[in-house]
Amino acid sequence: MNMQRREALKAGGGLGLFGLLAAAGLITPSQARAEWNKSAFDAKTIEETLKALGATGAQNSTDIQITAPDIAENGAVVPVGVVSALAGVEAIALLIEKNPNPLAASFMLPAGTEASVQTRVKMGQTSDVIAVVKVGGKFIMTKKEIKVTLGGCGG
């Protein structure tokens, strides 16, 4: 089963989830979107990541808020949310500056979906977390430092 699936994936030439779902009749082809953005997830710096997202030159904005604690008890699970009161937000990307690959996750928001997402990420060390938001075809961003602490007995 797994092998077959892998073969199917290969044969599909990277149809991605939405291609597969469309093929399975789970969603209509119009809903199928771009495949996984490898170049953005493989990027090693903030600049490279922004470039791969098409967001080079994103302006700092106070219209986005990162909801997260200032200090994380453990770097393996750090809760981070991005919220904006702006109308018409199309996409949100979450970057962690000091991770080996900064891009952690990206979200495409169809019309009617609120600009409010929350997830949990791994952070290797204390770092700025950056939220990049696409609204009205333009990119804006904000950042927040999250301190990662050592904890427990230490071993």
């Binding site: 602490t149 050592l150 071993g155």
Partner: protein, 211 residues
């Protein structure tokens, strides 16, 4: 089997024979020790199992639930003070930067089959687990007192330096049955490593005192 254990218990209590009688629920203690000892795998290397052996201080602290009566307290402190050894060059203050590293390291010395430390893993003092030290480290414990500005408040006289060294080497020489490990006695830290932590605590340039 049981007789043998009781006999063993009597022998091990020999240094303080009067205590064996005053021991609360002595019978359950012998049973409990047997149950405890039989809870480990047969194929544990003997040098692992040795870590379950108790010296007189450990045994007394356990028996009195960390609060020995004054007479026992004094005995323990006197005996432990006699154990302190110093670096060959006699210098009790080392490099605070090395001490700062050791204070933050909580790994080393873990044994067992589940998650042992890899060979050669550095053993630290893990000071921050229990003490506040440099201002910049917010993740500190409170089992022990805050040591922030240790040197700033106490100075760095020879007396203070010796006290600090001795206390890290053998905490029980000052407070019997304290929660603090006897780092020097157990060779957990070398005398040289202890001098580095002393420096971290008393050196005016150390972040413990400077910030």
């Amino acid at each position: 089997m049981n007789y043998r254990l009781i006999a063993l218990a009597l022998i091990t209590f020999a240094p303080f024979p009067s205590l064996a009688q005053s021991k609360p629920a002595g019978d359950i203690a012998a049973q409990a020790e047997q149950i405890f000892r039989s809870s480990f795998r047969e194929d544990n290397p003997s040098y692992w199992m040795k870590r379950l052996d108790q010296d007189d201080t450990m045994r007394l602290c356990s028996q009195y639930k960390d609060n020995p009566p004054p007479r026992i307290r004094q005995k323990i402190e006197k005996a432990e003070m006699a154990s302190v050894r110093y670096p060959v060059d006699g210098k009790l203050i080392g490099d605070w930067k090395e001490g700062e590293k050791l204070a933050a390291v909580g790994t080393g010395g873990h044994i067992g089959f589940i998650q042992p430390d890899p060979p050669g893993r550095v053993r630290g003092g893990n000071c921050y687990a229990c003490h506040q030290l440099a201002k910049k480290e917010v993740a500190y414990g409170t089992i022990g007192p805050s040591l922030q500005h240790f040197g700033k408040l106490r100075g760095n006289s020879e007396q203070i330096i010796k006290y600090t060294y001795d206390k890290i080497y053998n905490s029980n020489a000052f407070t019997a049955c304290t929660n603090m490990p006897r780092f020097g006695l157990h060779n957990w830290l070398t005398p040289e490593q202890i001098t580095h932590i002393v420096a971290f605590l008393v050196d005016p340039e150390s972040p413990v005192n400077k910030d």
